[in-house]
């Protein structure tokens, strides 16, 4: 063994390290704002033990991230720790209270990165784009362990090998943007583990990743935890991930702890109402919606409203050409929901945009059946026809913040399609807008407000109201529920299905979330690298997929049941 190992493993080698690593008692963190204070963390207590994983779950705004950042005293301004104690127990038997340290002082800096390390959600923006991977990693080693340049570099290479980065000798001198999302997160993990911390805090480390990549990162964290014996504090909103990796669970809501206990107790005998609601809304997405189970299936001989034939979309040309959509054929029947599922880069969004001719497809045909029974090819349609068809095919977007103009009132946003198509104006327009808002479950009297006054879920409802304003026949929904918390997700899907039955809509529902697809869709198409690899009824694709890729994809999805942990049994799919 080299000298480096002796230095870095010293902590792990002392006789019998204490099993308790960190005790947080009654932590309170406040954010002073113009009209009062926001109690982001309001009396949270928790303990972290060596070799154990504590998951903190909660919806957005529950204070789980601020709790984690409070431990390292890196809460963003103007937040500050008001009271509470955070006892860090060291391997040599001494204890210190982290809450007593000055946030800019030397003592807390010696803890950060050395004894408690942290990884973050967005692996792209959490690493500097203009410094090499090696530069950013070596910095920690040189700072805390006083290593020389050569020694630090050798240790970095060793660490990057541990997290399975290929071609390490060259990777160390590369920049983060040259890596994929999963590889970047591996670099983050390697950097966090550089000084062998006794506690690793992971703040939504897999949220921005695809499910197959997520499964690999979760595996890696678990393996490294076993090797190093550290405690892990894992923050997530995904109950599937919790069930898969947690020993203990802490449920947070509005800065307070709702319930804590072992993972089995939380999932199988939750005591608190909020926990029950949370688990309930997760389990609800594990099966098909009741409203769809009750409905009689659409007759086979119904003529499709949209028929996509051999559609291709190529970006660039020559050597750099990228076939984002490659020979895709699909049909959508009236009143039906077709789910498009796939990982990032599979071409599902591009496909959706081709349906509205936002992109001009490079080959193929999109046959659209008009209400009078005639069909026309959208790919070849001229400007006037296309304009008419776009009244009947609408879109709902993923980002409820970015897709609404912040300078327009809700009435203007929802009424705009009616106004530009000269369908309604004045009093008539106002009545129509009020009616639309009522249909999506929003108070019509709110229509003079601006989008910022609404929550994420309400904003997405505004987006839906805008989409149905022109009485469309087909709606392309691109990840319409991805930005929403899980408890809102099923509400939104129920609303969309209610509207579907009332207005006779067809949906093309693009999502990476199998739960959402299973809940809502009648038929599913699975996309992989621009091609549709499998189509079938939602039950068949979700429960007994035939294509190897679909099987691999489904096997990587963590199930919200700690008694049926399965992702370690997943298999990978490699394209032939």
């Amino acid at each position: 063994m080299s000298l480096i190992d002796l230095a870095t493993h010293a902590g792990a080698r002392s006789a019998t390290p204490p099993s308790l690593i960190l005790e947080v008692k009654d932590l309170v963190t406040h954010f002073p704002v113009r009209n009062g204070i926001v109690k982001a963390v309001d009396g949270v207590s928790l303990t972290l033990e060596r070799g154990k994983t504590l998951c903190i779950v909660g919806e957005s705004g529950s204070g789980k991230s601020v709790t984690a950042r409070s431990i390292l005293q890196i809460v963003d301004a103007p937040g500050r720790i008001v009271s509470g104690a955070m006892m860090l127990h060291r391997a040599d038997g001494t204890s210190v209270d982290l809450a007593k340290f000055n946030p800019r002082g030397r003592e807390i800096r010696a803890v950060r990165g050395r004894e408690i390390a942290m990884i973050f959600q967005e692996p792209m923006s959490s690493l500097s784009p203009v410094h090499t991977v090696g530069d950013q990693m070596m910095e920690v080693l040189r700072l805390h362990l006083d290593m020389g340049k050569k020694q630090a570099r050798a240790r970095c290479i060793e660490l990057l090998k541990q997290v399975e980065i290929p071609d390490v000798e060259r990777a160390i001198d590369r920049y983060t943007f040259e890596f994929s999302g999963g590889m970047r997160q591996r670099v983050m993990i390697a950097m966090a583990l550089a000084c062998n911390p006794s506690l690793l805090i992971a703040d939504e480390p897999t949220t921005a990743l695809d499910v197959t990549t997520q499964a690999e990162i979760l595996d890696l964290i678990r393996r490294l935890q076993q090797q190093h014996g550290m405690a892990v504090m894992f923050i997530t909103h995904d109950m599937g991930v919790v069930a898969e990796i947690a020993d203990d669970v802490l449920v947070m809501h509005r800065g307070k702890v709702m319930e804590s206990g072992t993972v089995d107790a939380i999932f199988h005998s939750p005591q608190n109402d909020y926990t029950r609601m949370l688990i309930g809304s997760v389990l609800k997405l594990e099966q098909k919606a009741e409203i769809r189970l009750r409905r009689s299936p659409i007759a086979d001989e119904t003529l499709p409203v949209l028929q996509v034939r051999n559609l291709s979309m190529q970006f660039g040309s020559g050597k750099n050409a990228l076939k984002a959509v490659d020979d895709v054929s699909l049909t959508v029947k009236p009143g039906e929901t077709l789910g498009i599922v796939g990982e990032s880069g599979s071409g599902k969004t591009t496909m959706g945009r081709c349906l509205l001719r936002i992109y001009d497809p490079s080959a193929g045909a999109i046959d659209y059946r008009r209400p009078d029974g005639s069909t026309l090819d959208l790919v070849k349609a001229d400007k006037e026809t296309l304009k008419a068809c776009r009244r009947e095919i609408r879109m709902i977007f993923q980002d409820p913040v970015g897709s609404l103009n912040p300078r327009m009132t809700v009435a203007q946003i929802v009424g705009e399609p009616l106004l530009v198509n000269r369908i309604a104006a004045g009093k008539q327009l106002d009545d129509r807008v009020a009616d639309l808002l009522q249909q999506v479950g929003l108070e019509p009297s709110w229509r003079e407000r601006y989008p910022h006054a609404f929550s994420g879920g309400q904003r997405q409802r505004i987006g839906i109201a805008r989409a149905i304003a022109l009485n469309p026949r087909v709606i392309v929904a691109d990840e319409a529920t991805s930005a929403l918390d899980v408890s809102l997700r099923s509400q939104m899907l129920d609303l969309m299905m209610g509207l579907q039955d009332k207005l006779g809509l067809s949906y093309v529902f693009i999502s990476h979330d199998i739960g959402v697809i299973r809940y809502m869709c009648d038929r599913v198409a699975v996309m992989y690298r621009g091609r549709v690899v499998e189509t079938g009824s939602a039950e068949q694709v979700c429960n007994s997929p035939t294509h190897a890729y679909t099987q691999a994809l489904l096997s990587a999805i963590p199930r919200p049941d700690p008694r049926a942990r399965s992702i370690h049994r997943r298999h990978r799919y490699t394209a032939a």
Binding site: R69, L72, I74, D76, R104, R109, A110, V111, R112, G113, R114, A117, M118, F120, Q121, E122, S125, S126, L127, S128, P129, V130, H131, E139, V140, L143, H144, Y175, F177, M188, M191
Partner: protein, 328 residues
């Protein structure tokens, strides 16, 4: 990289040809020519020039030929002999006139640049890090003041103070004794002694706007997740500020180099006139007013060449500094 530079240099040739032609046409667009202006000046002092003398003058200066011929003569002189022609007004080769002025302009501009960046960058960073503190408000107030005061006004005020309070002779870059003297150690000292007034005046508004830009750039970067990552590593606040957000906030400044170079010639004309500085700006203005076409043409050509070179330099520097930019 080398291929990119070679390609860009090649593209500069047609750009310069087009630009030089346009410049030549533009200078000739106003009615009349140098002789007309010359006659008007003479007429002002009651001297009358008859038609034949005027025609003689035109023939001597080559002004009687069609414009395209004049242009070809001019441009081939520059390309073949490095001869920029003769200034009608000064009766001297244009190149003599320009280079002396350019050297002084260069000294003045770079002193100003150093002062501007040296003050503005640290103050801007401070202002961003201590957002909404008393210090930030003071800096913000001063920088708005600096932006609001026209530089010629500041020039007049400073000249008054220097002359009345310190008894220093103001205007120009040299004392009378050194104006026409050859370069010596004493002349350099004299230059430094005179340089501070124009530097303060020219730096004032530049510093003010740069502080605002730096503050905004820094504020954009300070909340980025990679800063939190660096903090979570245990770096000291100063160290991490310098290494991460400052490094990224400086990138936009590299782009400003492309308009810094042409500013050498045409920038700060008003201040230079008020302070009667022997820099390029006033000469350019004078040549345009008297339709001294070869002198003006040389200046316009110089501005264009500097613009092209400046943007090439800033593109290359940006690519060196920011690995995300690829020059292909």
């Amino acid at each position: 990289m080398l291929r990119f530079i070679a390609k860009r240099l090649l593209w500069m040739v047609p750009s310069l040809i087009v630009v030089s032609f346009l410049a030549f046409v533009l200078i000739q667009l106003p009615p009349g020519d140098y002789v007309t202006t010359f006659i008007a000046t003479l007429a002002a002092s009651n001297e009358v020039v008859d038609q034949t003398t005027a025609a003689d003058l035109r023939a001597r200066f080559g002004l009687d030929q069609p414009m395209i011929i004049q242009y070809l003569k001019w441009i081939s002189g520059i390309l073949l002999h490095g001869d920029f022609g003769l200034s009608f007004e000064w009766q001297q080769p244009v190149s003599n006139l320009i280079w002396e002025r350019m050297a002084l302009t260069l000294v003045l501009t770079f002193s100003t640049l150093l002062a501007t960046w040296g003050i503005a960058l640290p103050v801007g960073v401070y202002s961003a890090v201590k957002k909404y503190s008393v210090g930030d408000y003071v800096v913000t107030f001063l920088s708005f003041l600096g932006l609001a005061i026209p530089s010629f006004l500041l020039a007049l005020v400073l000249m008054y103070i220097a002359a009345v309070e310190f008894g220093q002779e103001v205007g120009g870059l040299f004392s009378e004794a050194y104006v026409n003297a050859p370069w010596s150690f004493g002349k350099v000292l004299d230059l430094l002694h005179h340089l501070w007034i124009p530097v303060i005046i020219l730096a004032a508004s530049g510093t003010a706007s740069l502080i605002r830009v730096m503050r905004a750039n820094m504020l954009d970067e300070l909340n980025k997740p990679y800063v939190t990552t660096a903090r979570a590593k245990g770096l000291s606040e100063f160290h991490l500020l310098v290494k991460y957000p400052l490094r990224l906030a400086l990138n936009p400044f590299i782009s400003t180099i492309s308009w810094l170079l042409p500013n050498l010639v045409s920038g700060s004309i008003i201040v230079a006139i008020v302070l009667s500085l022997p820099t390029a700006g006033p000469l350019l203005l004078q040549s345009l007013m008297s339709q001294d076409m070869y002198l003006a043409g040389a200046f316009v050509l110089l501005i264009c060449a500097l613009t092209l070179i400046g943007s090439l330099i800033s593109d290359i520097l940006l690519a060196l500094v920011d690995p995300r930019i690829r020059l292909e």
